[in-house]
């Protein structure tokens, strides 16, 4: 093991309480699942942040590329009509 080998990168998700969604809270380095779980507990839950932890290998997450930004997301910038609030509802329409 070289001195700068800190294991692989993992992303950590915390659930605030049962039934709530898991939210990304940060990342950590660990050599395996067990170590990742212990470190996640120590790094991210000791101030009562939650009572559920999910951990995913960072390399297993499929992520959009920053360089794709223009092609992926810009075309939706000027299309406000894709929001329902764009449309005026005539006064006579009920149940909407």
């Amino acid at each position: 093991m070289s001195s700068d080998d800190q294991g692989i990168l993992w992303e950590v998700f915390i659930q605030v309480k049962a039934g709530r969604p898991y939210k990304h809270i940060g990342s950590l380095h660990a050599y395996d699942k067990e170590m990742a779980m212990k470190s996640a507990r120590d790094l991210y839950t000791r101030r009562n942040e939650g009572n559920g932890i999910w951990i995913v290998k960072a390399e297993d997450i499929i992520s959009s590329e920053a360089s794709d930004g223009e092609a992926f997301f810009d075309p939706s910038n000027d299309k406000v009509y894709r929001h329902p609030t764009f449309y005026k509802i005539p006064d006579g329409v009920k149940h909407i």
Binding site: Q6, G7, H29, L43
Partner: protein, 250 residues
């Protein structure tokens, strides 16, 4: 009886206090960031347990506080075990010392949660949850180091060899143990030994670490106020600031 109860609280409080100080010395020096935070968290848990026991000792004594007991007490009045006084060497040594103490704490606190003394019972109920996690972590590292590389196994074996001679004190009964046991406040130290040995030996054997021979190296013990040469240096560093600047606050 009251004096023995104070003495017992000092033993538990001082042992956690000095171990937490040794861990604090290691802060920022662990091999990886995640471990540095984790071991420091353990130290903070121990400091909290020390504060609880020293606060209770101070209440029983009267006219003092946990802070005064920590920062204005002489070496001979400390009651910490020799094992926690040992100076840090490498990661394997720190984790091995932690593992031996975690096993001891786990077995001790699991008995103290049925103490007839309500304060000790209360502190122990809170502490046992922390200790169970400490043990989970140090036990994990014993396996990783023992079954890791030739070097990690060798370092762990050396650490266990060096630490083993300090473990007999954990199970020696003195007059305080006898009084605590008689009043159903705490078990005899000697009664913890077989559980501890079983726990420690099975983990070490699994991790391919040889159990050293049992040696009685010391005629006098920390729990009686007779310390290793290391404690004076720890206290000199720990007490230096409040002794030099008695009015310092933060």
């Amino acid at each position: 009886m009251k004096n023995e109860l104070i003495d017992y609280c000092l033993r538990l409080g001082d042992s956690s206090l000095i171990l937490s100080h040794r861990i604090a010395e290691y802060c920022s020096k662990a091999p990886i960031l995640e471990e540095d935070l984790a071991i420091t968290n353990v130290g903070l848990d121990l400091l909290g347990q020390a504060e609880n026991f020293l606060t209770y000792a101070a209440e029983l004594k009267g006219d003092t506080t946990a802070d005064l007991l920590t920062f204005k007490r002489r070496e001979g009045d400390f009651r910490c075990l020799h094992l926690v006084q040992t100076p840090n060497t490498d990661f394997a040594f720190i984790l091995a010392r932690q593992f031996l103490m975690d096993c001891y704490h786990q077995i001790l606190f699991s008995k103290l949660i049925s103490s007839e003394d309500e304060t000790i019972l209360g502190i122990s109920k809170k502490a046992i949850k922390e200790v169970n996690y400490h043990l989970d972590r140090s036990n994990d590292w014993i396996k990783r180091l023992g079954l890791g590389t030739t070097e990690s196994n060798e370092r762990l074996q050396n650490a266990v060899n060096d630490l083993w001679m300090y473990t007999d004190e954990l199970f020696i009964d003195n007059s305080t143990d006898i009084a605590m046991n008689k009043n159903k406040i705490a078990p005899l130290s000697s009664n913890l030994k077989s559980d501890w040995l079983e726990m420690v030996e099975s983990a070490l054997k699994f991790s391919e670490i040889k159990i050293p021979q049992e040696i009685r190296y010391s005629l006098r013990y920390g729990k009686d106020g007779f310390h290793t040469e290391y404690l004076g240096f720890i206290l000199a560093e720990m007490q230096h600031l409040p002794l030099l600047y008695p009015d310092a606050t933060w």
